[in-house]
Symmetry: C2
Subunit: 279 residues, 2 copies
């Protein structure tokens, strides 16, 4: 199969390595010539160009740009590709993308490979990045079943765990498990910044170990990514945040009232619930 | 030196292994005969007993019981040990312990080795548990300097990083970096429990990966430990919690008002601040 990839970063580059490894011909597009060169050198693509016209004869295109560039890129692609080409994306929110793209292109299937690393860029691309990780596809009522089936086969060949769901269900789920944790964790760091006694602040920095490290990790991550997820999944993140504030208020009340039995019961529930996430 | 250890769990047992390895004679006390036997078999103590009277001739005693048992244990020890014996503890809060014990025993130096594992009990004891980790000592104005110096030498011999500070400063610092994260993280799990759409909840469980795993880890931990820290560090935890709620409220407001520039600025600050904790 001829496969196009627009955007040769960590995800686009890693897709290219895997898809070439499975015998497909992969053509890449990047805005930067240097990225095209590295992608070719690293074997992530058979050929690469700064021009979308390299994608004239592809069967499927993966749009691996930042979220805001997905729909504009597809608009530019339309005059170039044939009408039966499948387009998919790898954005971490789906409702906004699917709503914007569906009127433009019928054979569009939203996608979200839930794999990543701390760093981005073609330099960090690796084969096997998606193996064993979730890869969500979000077809809607009007998506042609043959297009879903073909994309699903390709994604399964990466040995990802494939989940099919509605774009809205995807966004609500990732609001809980990806986007809410970023704000929760950023709030922890933000609160610590408020310590005005420098002796205590210095001591806190010296004593911080695995508990603080883990809980503060995603809140200390890439600010642009944090804003993107909040912006494009604003409604569901906001709902999750209000629910979270209620949970925190309840926990504060237990501490205020020194209701240690109530607190223990609550912590038993969270221990039990968390085990269901990793059973 | 003759060293006594009361409470032969993960911390007491690991201390015993390290101290015997450095040539000290270690005598242990546990309420359970089986624990005494395992401690002897594992080489964590030279001898062990269910009776405190085994500690008649020790130079220093480490109290490694749960926090609530520290002062009662020391009351029982007083008729047995000689007046120049140093007593220390390993509790994770210090102000309440130091206030309770100082009137009982002059040569008391509060201590907090910040090392731990997911599991507790003598079975998990290991040599080198404290190496490279913080070990806080919390002498006060009335603590004899010679007692601090002698304990500090022993703790340094474990190749721990030793910090000396006031009990209150310790408790304020660990409220930020140990105790607040537990509530923040428990709140995240608690909020997810509120998702009433079972399709979305199931999907969230299936898609949860490293971000949720890390942020929810300490909130899914041992409920008894969580309650102990809240109970004995209630005032400083409560202050941290109110500060945290303010941070979360501010972040929610940025999302509500779609102030993406403001959110990006805030996330840049948290990224920068976190790097200061692990520089």
């Amino acid at each position: 199969m001829n496969i196009g990839i627009v955007g040769l970063g960590l995800i686009g580059g890693s897709l290219g390595l895997d898809l070439r490894g499975r015998g497909h011909k992969v053509l890449g597009v990047s805005r930067q010539e240097r990225t095209c060169q590295i992608a070719i050198e690293r074997g992530a693509v058979d050929d690469a160009s700064m021009l979308l016209s390299i994608l004239t004869d592809v069967d499927i295109v993966f749009i691996c740009t930042p979220i805001f560039a997905i729909a504009p890129t597809i608009k530019q692609l339309i005059p170039i590709i044939s009408p039966d080409t499948i387009i998919t994306d790898v954005g971490s929110v789906k409702r906004a993308v699917v709503e914007a793209v569906t009127p433009l292109w019928q054979n569009f299937v939203g996608g979200h490979p839930m794999a990543g690393k701390e760093y981005n860029g073609i330099e960090w691309a690796e084969s096997g990045l998606f193996a064993g990780n979730p890869y969500v596809l979000t077809p809607i009522d009007t998506t042609p079943p043959w297009a879903v089936k073909r994309l699903e086969e390709i994604v399964r060949s990466l040995t990802s765990h494939v989940y099919l769901c509605h774009p809205e269900d995807h966004d609500r789920a990732v609001a809980w498990i990806s986007h809410l944790p970023v704000i929760v964790s950023a709030g922890l760091i933000d609160a610590c910044m408020g310590e005005t006694d420098l002796v205590v602040l210095k001591l806190a920095q010296q004593l911080a170990s695995s508990g603080f490290r883990d809980t503060s990790r995603v809140g200390g991550g890439n600010p642009e990514l944090g804003v993107m997820m909040a912006r494009y999944n604003r409604d569901f993140l906001h709902k999750s945040l209000l629910s979270y504030r209620q949970s925190i208020d309840n926990l504060i009340e237990l501490v205020e009232q020194e209701d240690w039995q109530g607190l223990e019961k609550r912590l038993q529930q969270t221990q039990e619930t968390r085990s269901q996430f990793y059973s």
